[in-house]
């Protein structure tokens, strides 16, 4: 599903440089990335999503070499193949939950909003336990509910790959487990691959593989 080979990336400023000699993921696999702040975890997610372009190396996602795509093609590819879940949920305060879930269809011409999508939202919202809260704005929802909305938004496009950046970072311990369960469950149902960045070592046993970016080693006994 994902193949990263000899990727090197540096921001224009500062002396940070990310080097990933090799990383691969099978379809449907759940992989967690841990590591200290500034070790390049989120940068890797952005490279895989095609938001950033590596200085060198090759990244293949779902059989597509994202490093060879143009900016427009990368955006289209991202919209149709990748779902994002963020630590701060990144919901829009001025839209109710339903419209937040449908937001990718509002901003991406490649995605067509039709009745099937609306029915899929109903199913997802039911599964995430927020069906009766779809008309509420984010400030009327708890943090756990907001993250459920964010998960629905990530899954509504039926992505092949879900990138989760500290998705449980802002949640209380009880909610963390439930949200991660929900994410796993929905990813499994959709047959999606899950690449998650987390600081929370308590959650690592739930992943099939864990990579520690502190020394770039695979933690086999997570």
């Amino acid at each position: 599903m994902i193949s990263v080979e000899n990727v090197s990336f540096a921001y224009g400023t500062g002396d940070f440089r990310l080097n990933v000699p090799r990383l691969s993921m099978q379809s449907g696999e759940r992989l967690a990335i841990v590591g200290p702040s500034g070790s390049g975890k989120t940068t890797l997610l952005n490279l895989v999503a095609g938001i950033l372009s590596p200085d060198s190396g090759r990244i293949v996602v779902a059989g597509k070499d994202v490093t060879a795509l143009t900016d427009t093609e990368r955006r289209q590819f991202r919209a149709s193949h990748i779902g994002f879940v963020f630590q701060d949920f990144a919901l829009l305060d001025y839209l109710p939950a339903l419209q937040n879930i449908l937001y990718p269809y509002r901003v991406t011409p490649a995605l067509k909003l039709d009745q099937a999508v609306r029915e899929r939202v109903e199913v997802l919202a039911e599964a995430c336990g927020i069906r009766d809260k779809l008309d509420r704005h984010p400030n009327e929802l708890s943090q756990g509910e907001q993250q459920r909305v964010a998960i629905c938004r990530a899954l509504v496009t039926q992505p092949k790959l879900i990138l989760s950046d500290e998705a449980t970072g802002n949640l209380d311990p009880e909610s963390k487990g439930r949200i991660l369960d929900l994410l796993f469950e929905q990813a499994s149902e959709a047959g999606a691959t899950l690449l998650a960045v987390t600081h929370d070592h308590e959650l690592l046993p739930r992943f099939e593989r864990v990579i520690d970016f502190a020394d770039y080693r695979e933690v086999a006994d997570a």
Partner: protein, 389 residues
């Protein structure tokens, strides 16, 4: 479509901020336009009134005061001119003189004593009732009728000139016999009476019960007139015969005389007769006086335009800053949209749609406001011009 949907959703959710921006932008657009409309309408109205009055005869003094008193029935009180000047104009056969007496008021509106020629001259028509025919009759302008809620069959009482003038003239009660059609000119704000009625109000003419009866004459007894003789405060068919004037009518006062010359040559001859600076009377062209006033006003307006432009630029800068800060505050939303696959153009279109929507609504409000001002400019300008009266 999606762009507009999101733009409207954002503006609706942040309605207070949107409302402030819309109002600010609408005011920036509306105020200069409305000011321009009102000023140009004022200029037109002022000049039209001046140009419709060929010549004005009055006492030598301020030409502006004379013009304002005679054309706009303002509070200015130029020295009165004697009525013999009217006779002089008549006798010259060069023009038609229309005397005006604007010294008194009733219910806050100017009482204008004049002759029937005034109504033809100003092309005034009646919405109700008839013209002046008897001493004491009053015809009121449309605005007077609206403001006082009076019409044909009601009466008006002239206001005393001075509350402490205990031995002064009694107020005169005048029946309203006609209401004029609105003209959006100072005539709407005036109460018209015959100039002789104005003289009665002034105390030059009056009516009272007979001092000498037929029995007194038969008995050969002497007549004694004193304060116990009842003066009439309303002119009726029964007592109208008792009204009379003391002195020569040629000495009676008028505020000014509108002079309507037969032709250009007559006007030139008449103007020549009043060139002498020793002459206590002056014959002026109101149009040139008004033009001078308008020129002065518009010199001040130029300054106001600069001030308005500076304020508009400052306000626009403030609105622009508010919009810019709003974009900065939404940097996270923009980043989210990009991560979800939105094109850069889509994000720009979204922000542009919000800005254009705000400006469009502001423009619509400003346009509606400007249309309202343009539609009512004549009425409002007439009202504004009458404020000085």
């Amino acid at each position: 479509m999606n762009t507009l949907y999101l733009a409207f959703a954002y503006l609706r959710y942040h309605w207070a901020r949107s409302l402030v921006l819309v109002i600010a932008a609408a005011l920036i657009l509306f105020v200069p336009v409305a000011t321009q409309i009102l000023l140009s309408t004022s200029q037109t109205a002022l000049i039209a009134r001046g140009e419709a009055t060929p010549l004005l005869l009055g006492s030598r003094g301020s030409q502006l005061d004379l013009t304002m008193a005679a054309l706009y029935f303002s509070n200015e009180r130029p020295d009165p001119i004697a009525m013999r000047e009217v006779d002089t104009i008549w006798d010259s056969n060069l023009a038609v003189p229309i005397p005006l007496h604007t010294a008194f008021s009733s219910g806050g509106f100017r009482i204008v004593g004049t002759s029937l020629d005034y109504f033809d001259f100003r092309d005034l028509t009646f919405s109700d009732g008839r013209g002046l025919s008897l001493l004491g009759d009053a015809v009121i302008g449309a605005a007077v009728a609206d403001a006082l809620g009076k019409g044909v069959g009601d009466t008006l009482v002239s206001s005393p000139e001075n509350l402490f003038d205990l031995d002064g003239v009694y107020p005169l009660e005048m029946p309203i016999v006609g209401v004029l059609e609105a003209t959006n000119t100072p005539d709407d704000q005036a109460i018209f009476v015959d100039i002789k009625t104005a003289w009665v109000i002034q105390g030059i003419g009056h009516g009272h019960e007979d001092v000498v009866t037929a029995a007194d004459i038969a008995a050969g007894s002497e007549a004694l007139a004193n304060a116990s003789v009842v003066q009439f405060q309303r002119i009726t068919p029964e007592n109208i015969e008792s009204f009379h004037f003391h002195g020569s009518q040629g000495d009676f006062p008028a505020t000014a005389v509108i002079v309507v010359p037969a032709d250009t040559r007559s006007a030139t001859i008449l103007k020549g007769r009043y060139l002498d600076s020793e002459n206590p009377s002056q014959l002026i062209e109101p149009a040139s006086v008004i033009q001078g006033l308008v020129d002065r006003i518009f010199r001040i307006k130029s300054l106001l335009d600069v001030v308005t432009a500076i304020v508009a630029v400052a306000a626009l800068a403030a609105v622009g800053l508010a919009v810019f800060l709003s974009y900065r505050l939404r940097a996270k939303e923009i980043a989210t949209a990009v991560k979800l696959g939105a094109r850069r153009g889509m994000v720009l279109r979204l922000l542009a749609a919000e800005t254009v929507t705000l400006l469009f609504i502001s423009g619509c409000i400003a346009a509606i406001g400007a249309a309202l001002v343009a539609r009512n400019a004549d009425t409002w300008v007439g009202w504004l011009l009458s404020l000085g009266a």
